[in-house]
Each structure stands twice: as C-alpha cells, then as structure tokens.
C-alpha cells in the first residue's frame, strides 16, 4: 500500500493517462469537480489529469464546449485595458474599492520569471514574493501561480490578479468581461465568479499560511452597463467557501477511488506519433464505464463526459433532474417508477418503497381521472 499521492498512486494515474502529458486544473474545473463530489469517474479522470474532451470524443460522445472568438476577444480586450496600464485605471479602481493608502501602489508581475514557462519555478517565485518580509511586499500582484490541494493532490491555479492591502490582508481580484447593468449582472455568471474566487481564496490561504490573512471579500471587476468602463464590486464569498470546503472534503481521496477501480482500467487513447488515437473506441468506452459515475443534468454545463454519462444513465430518473427524482420518491429506474405508479407489479412492493409507491399510485390515478374528466368535459 503506497502513501496517499505517493509513487504508487502516481504510477497508476500515469497508467490511466496512458503516457499523455498531465493537464492542469483551474478554478473552473475545481468548481465543477466540487459540484459533483459523488462522481468517482470524474474524480479519477481529473486526478489523472487526462484530456477529458479527447476521451469523450474518441469514445463516441464529442461535446461542443467551444468558445466563440467574439467572447474570447472581448475578454482579452477588457482585461488588456486594465492590465496595459497597471499604474493608472486599475490602481485607481482598487484604491476606490479597497480604500488603499496613497503609498500602496506597488505592482509586481509574477507572470514572468525571466521568461521561464516552468510552473514549479513560477509557483516558487509567487510564494517567495507573497510571503516575503512585510516591507518587501508590494500591493498588486499580477498572475500569481497558486497551488490547490484536491483529492489529495496538488493542482496549479492562476487567478487574474491579487490585491494587497496594508493591514496584512490579501484580496483576490477577478476580472470578468460580463456586464453589470444598472447594478445587476447575470446571476449565473456572478455565482460562477464567486465560486472561482473562493477557490482562489482557499489556494491563497494555503500559500501564505500564517504570514498573512486572505479576505473573504473578493473584488470583481466587470464592464459597467453597455460601455467598456470597468466597475469594481466587492463580493462576499464566505458562503462559497463553506460550500467548497464541504464539497471538497467529500471528494474521496484518490487512493480510495483507485481501490475500487480494477487495475487494468486505462483511459489511454494509445495515440501514435502524430497524436492520432489508435485505441478501439469500444474498448475505451468499456473501461470508462467500469468506473462509477453520478450523472445529473448539471453535468451538461460542467463536464466533458456529459453526453456519455447521460446516455449511460438513460432509463434512469436521474436524467430528468434531481427535483424530479425527489418527487418520484427517489426511485431510480424509469420502468420501475411506472410499474409502481400503475400498481401492476406482481411482486410485493418492498417496505422502504411503500410510501413512494402509494404517492405514485395516487398521482397516476388522479392523472387518469383528470384526463378522462377533460375528455368527458364533465366539470
């Protein structure tokens, strides 16, 4: 038995990956992972840092998770407007929002470590700078490279920016290009930004340890109304921090997930030198299905394997969504729910389903009655 995250684990994960380079995490993928903590399949695919999209595609379930070039360039333009001149607009915005002192103007670009693309080097530099002696610390830090522990392993993360305030408190700053119109923004987008901020807050707390505190209020910078003028708002992410910590604690350590997975399961695509997958798609699909999933319609927005898992889950009430399943008394199978509703199951109803069965039968008979009444127009 190897230690958690130890060489044995790494070896198995590398085998699952099949010689491909590991993929990095980001706040979005961690937030998505946390949104379905009960899914061993995703936990494993993520821990092994596989190319989920390629895998889904090769197994016969391509996902159109594309991003429009217009959205992409809008994001780039908005961010560049702020970052191009960090001593001007950006600083003034943050001064206003966080009440920075006039002396707090330092700006450090952690993106560039003399041109090294090495993530470990960048992380080391981030750590050195952010935990350095207080008099050496700046105020604004661009592109720190953080690390995040998930499923017992580390993933690298890169927030847009972090602001620092004089009382030894860091704030996470996020630049997003969705508009805030008359003080309101798309709630789904704000929620996504908040949970991503929470991921960064946790990662920052992990990094600075007890040398400083990281505030639960993040700063969100978005375009205001219909123009490109930025607007900074503070975002309290305490709730998201709670949710995230709870969900992350439910993600089983990757060792215990591995313990339930047969040793010969692999997600390798057996790519040739040109990167063309050689593996038999059916074989790949079989291996994927040997790891348990936990499909719900939320997967459609967050996981590359969604079409595969949805197809696999057909015939189950989980494809209809959590609230439907609850209304059906938690019954999992569609045919079974129907049988119970019609009361034509010759076998006795098990004890734990009696109440659910009674409700379904009642619903079915009411539905029948009402449809009959409508046809007869008796009411």
């Amino acid at each position: 038995m190897s230690s958690p995250g130890g060489a044995g684990t790494e070896r198995r994960l590398a085998w699952l990956r099949g010689g491909e380079l590991p993929q990095t995490h980001n706040a979005r993928t961690i937030a998505a992972l946390a949104s379905n903590p009960g899914c061993a399949r995703r936990a494993l695919l993520d821990a092994a840092a596989t190319r989920k999209q390629d895998i889904a595609e090769h197994a016969g379930y391509p996902v159109p998770f594309g991003m429009s070039p217009f959205a992409l360039s809008r994001g780039v333009v908005f961010e560049r407007q702020l970052k191009d001149d960090p001593g001007g607009l950006l600083l003034a915005l943050l001064r206003e929002t966080l009440n920075l002192d006039i002396a707090e103007v330092g700006f450090t670009d952690l993106n560039d470590v003399g041109g090294s693309p090495d993530l470990a080097v960048r992380h080391a530099r981030t750590k050195a700078v952010l935990t350095g002696r207080p008099d050496q610390r700046g105020t604004l830090f661009d592109h720190p490279l953080l690390r995040f522990r998930v499923g017992g392993r580390h993933a690298y993360l890169e927030p847009d920016l972090i602001a620092f305030r004089h009382d030894d408190t860091f704030h996470v700053v996020e630049i997003k290009s969705f508009a805030v119109i008359d003080g309101q923004a798309d709630p789904a987008k704000v929620a996504a930004a908040a949970i991503q901020s929470a991921v960064y807050v946790l990662a920052m707390r992990d990094l600075v340890g007890d040398t400083a505190t990281v505030h639960h209020e993040s700063v969100l910078i978005c375009p205001r109304d219909f123009a490109n003028t930025p607007l900074a708002t503070t975002l309290d992410v305490r709730k998201q921090l709670g949710v995230l910590e709870r969900q992350l604690s439910r993600i089983a350590g990757i060792d215990s997930v591995l313990a339930h997975v047969p040793a010969d399961v692999s997600f390798s695509l057996d790519a040739d030198e040109k990167g063309v997958p050689q593996r038999d798609p059916g074989d790949l699909l079989r291996d994927i299905k040997r790891v348990d999933a936990n499909y719900s319609p939320e997967c459609l927005a967050s996981c590359e394997l969604c079409y595969l898992c949805r197809d696999e889950a057909s015939g189950s009430t989980s494809v209809l969504g959590k609230s439907v399943r609850e209304e059906l008394g938690g019954i999992e199978s569609v045919p079974r729910a129907l049988k119970l509703a019609r009361g034509d199951d010759p076998l006795p109803v098990p004890e734990d389903l009696r109440e659910a069965a009674a409700i379904l039968r009642r619903a079915a008979s009411l539905r029948r009655d009402a449809l009959a009444a409508a046809r007869a127009e008796t009411w």
């Binding site: 001593g87 607009l89 041109g115």
Partner: protein
C-alpha cells in the same frame, strides 16, 4: 501592393488573440482547443515572419536587407506603408513612436503611445504594428550596432532584467528610466500625466482627443478634478490641477522608486551585454533564478 502589409497587421492581431486564447485553453484544461489554437498560432507566426521581412525591407529606409522588387520612383515619404496617416505628418512609424515617447518621457504601452500621438500629432497607427517595430529595431541594432541615433527598445523588469511586457522605450534614455520596479508603473503613470498636462497647457486649442487623454489621466489621479471616480472623469479638467495632484503623489513614491531603479540599473550594466541592455535579458537562466529564489526563502 499594400496587401501583405494589411495582412501583417491582421496577423498580429490574430497572433495576440491566439496567444491569449491558447493560454486560456491551457489553463482551462481544454487540450483540444489548445492544440488546435497552437497549430493556428504557429501558422500565423510563420506567415507573420514572412510578411514582416517583406515589410521591413520595403518600409525601412537604410535597411540592410535586400529591397523587394518594386517601382523605385517614389519619394521616401510616399513609401509609407499603407494604412499610415493620409493627412498629418508622414514620418516613419519609429519616428512617430519616438515623438510620442519623447513627450511622455517614460516607457509606455503601445496603446498609450498611439493615443498620445493621435492627441498631439493628429495621426494614429494600429497598435499591433508596434510589436513588430521592436523586433525590427532589435534586428537592426544587432546587424549594425549604434548605426542610428536612437532605437525604440524595451523597458526592463527590475528583478530579472527581462523585457517588461509590452512596454516600449527610447535607447538614449538613462538606464534607470527604462527599468521597471514595483513602484514604477504608478510613478511613470504620474510622470506621464504631468507631461501630458504640461503639453496641453502649451497648446492654445487642444483637440478633443487631447482633452480626452488628459481626462483619462485626471480620472485616475486623486484630487486632480473636483468630483471623479476611477475611470470616469467629470466636469472640466484643468491641466494645472492635474499637475499639482500628480506631483503631490509623486513625492510620496519617488525616492523609493528611484533607489530600486538605480540598483537594478547597476546590475543591468554589470551583467548584460549591449543588445541585452537595450532589449532585455533574452534567455532565462534557470539555475541562477533557482538560486535567487532559494535565497529569498
């Protein structure tokens, strides 16, 4: 004939968008997209290199590269790349950049350079063009060092002496001015604000673009106009009050910034060769950095 130039510009915009996209795709863990984007990127870069060579040879008077076949009965002024100002001055791009930087007196990003030139010299140019300008300058310097009175060069990040992202500077400036320490972005912003305000004071009838530029500075310097908030200036802006407010804040940062810059400049002069002093330490020395990091911990 203007075709390859226009497409070089388009390519630059495309390249920078693609770079950003690749970066995002990688961070998003979206391997598929990243791979496709990288392929597009390398094609675009290749095309751009080709287009650039042609352009450099054609547009730079005194260039050492062979001139492409073209009608040679044009005056130098007419040899401007297409898309250059139709009215106003017809200076080569590098000279326009020199004009704008000389006014600002601090390293600046392409967008600011273009805006300043538009405000004070009534001509603008696509900012994407400036990225290639720096490469041209470096190439020209390496081929014939100090053959020109000045070069458009890089600003250097104080810590690693690598070229600071996107900033352009003038080679004849003292090294200290071309170093970017942690306080320098703000200090340079304030210096630029002062210089822009002073320039405007001297013009009897500043064009709207100039006023807009001043307003942009004013909006981000506290106390420079009666009521404003970040990014959103209001009311009429007096150059005098912008200068006063900027100077007041400058006094707070100046000494510390200067010390940091002087120290880094000394290192640069000691450690870097001439091209590196102008265009930044090119290659990353992993061992040195790792040592430095270990030392800081």
């Amino acid at each position: 004939m203007g075709e390859p130039l226009d497409s070089a510009e388009a390519l630059e915009e495309r390249i920078s968008a693609l770079r950003a996209a690749v970066r995002r795709a990688v961070l998003d863990g979206d391997a598929d997209r990243a791979r496709a984007l990288r392929r597009d990127l390398s094609h675009a870069e290749q095309d751009w290199d080709n287009a650039l060579d042609a352009q450099a040879a054609r547009a730079q008077p005194g260039s050492l590269e062979p001139a492409p076949e073209r009608d040679d009965d044009q005056s130098p002024a007419e040899r401007q790349p297409r898309g250059e100002p139709r009215g106003g001055t017809l200076l080569p791009l590098r000279e326009q950049v020199h004009e704008a930087l000389s006014l600002l007196q601090v390293p600046a990003a392409p967008r600011l350079i273009a805006t300043v030139h538009e405000a004070f010299y009534a001509t603008s140019f696509p900012t994407a063009r400036l990225t290639s300008l720096r490469r041209d300058e470096e190439r020209s310097f390496k081929t014939a060092p100090f053959a020109r009175p000045y070069y458009i060069c890089a600003a250097l990040a104080a810590d690693f002496l690598s070229p600071s992202r996107g900033l352009l500077a003038i080679s004849t400036w003292p090294m200290e001015r071309r170093i970017i320490g942690s306080l320098s972005p703000r200090v340079d912003f304030l210096v630029a604000a002062i210089n822009v305000a002073q320039a405007i004071e001297q013009i009897p009838q500043p064009v709207p673009a100039a006023r807009a530029l001043l307003a942009r500075f004013a909006a981000n310097v506290r106390g420079s106009s009666s009521a404003n908030s970040a990014g959103r200036p209001s009311g009429r802006i007096e150059p005098r009050s912008v200068i006063r407010a900027a100077q007041a804040e400058l006094a707070v940062h100046q000494d510390e910034d200067h010390a940091a810059r002087a120290e880094a400049a000394r290192r640069a002069r000691e450690q870097l060769d001439e091209p590196e002093q102008l265009f930044g330490a090119a290659s990353f020395r992993r061992a040195a950095t790792a040592d430095k990091l270990a030392g800081e911990r």
